[in-house]
Amino acid sequence: MALRLTVQVLLVLQALLREPGRELYGLEVSEETGLLPGTAYPILLRLEHEGWVTSRWEDVDPRAEKRPARRYYRLTAGGAAEASAAVASARRPRGAALRGLAREAGTA
């Protein structure tokens, strides 16, 4: 399954790329991207299937913590490189288009 780089996917990748070594759990991803948790989850899952992201359950005693364990997501080494490239390539056309528009506006 090829990964489609939608705006939402790019937002998730950006959030994970902010600190590539850092692990984020579902709620953090949702808060950093502004996406609803139900939207972020399938994206994270797809990224995991593609091997860009790895995940693990937090190793805590839910009764001691008084909350359920969180599932943490982190970019893999390969995933970080691919994600950086994807985010950069997604930025480029938009930047080029904006520059083109600015040029047109300047000549008009």
């Binding site: 399954m1 709620l27 949702s30 948790p37 989850y41 399938p42 805590v60 359920p68």
Partner: protein, 167 residues
């Protein structure tokens, strides 16, 4: 958490479904064509009664146990001790201590392959638990909205990985 059906209950469910199908089929046949001429009517009636009694006998413990378990979990706030499941399912076991189970999410999780459904449900419950109550309903709706596509994706993934393994 998806209630884990014991094998016995699963067999009962399968028996129930088969029994219901046979009984309905036979009932429809009797209604449409009348009882078979070579059988006395009381035999047909006895068959239908016994079949339905069998269905009730099998269905009752299976469905009742299932419903009681869900209710019981909710009453206890879903806080269950002990270990979790196993494998990816076992990962979901961490969240057995999640807050009150949402029956809608439980039902939707059944659309997905078992392990994926358990993980989805566990993650949803984990996130919902930490969300402020004002944002929870919206988040639940978002989980429900994305579930059908996710279910399709998970089944496709499962299918691809299985066929890939065979080839």
């Amino acid at each position: 958490m998806l209630p884990e059906f014991p094998l016995d209950a699963r067999r009962k469910k399968v028996g129930l479904i088969l029994g219901a199908m046979v009984s309905c089929g036979y009932g429809a046949d009797v209604v449409l064509t009348g009882p078979p001429t070579h059988l006395p009517e009381f035999l047909v009636l006895a068959f239908v009664v016994i079949a339905n009694a069998g269905i009730v006998f099998y269905a009752w413990p299976a469905t009742n146990g299932f419903l009681l378990r869900i209710r019981g979990e909710r009453k206890r706030g879903g806080r269950k001790g002990g270990d979790g499941g196993s494998g990816l399912d076992g990962e979901a076991g961490h969240v057995r201590a999640a807050a009150g189970r949402r029956p809608v999410l439980c039902a939707v999780a059944r659309l997905m392959p078992a392990s994926a459904g358990r993980r989805w449900l566990a993650e949803a419950e984990s996130v919902l638990f930490e969300l402020p109550s004002g944002r929870r309903a919206k988040a639940v709706r978002s989980y429900l909205r994305s579930a059908p596509r996710l279910a399709v994706m998970m089944w496709a993934h499962r299918l691809i990985s299985r066929t890939g393994r065979r080839v």
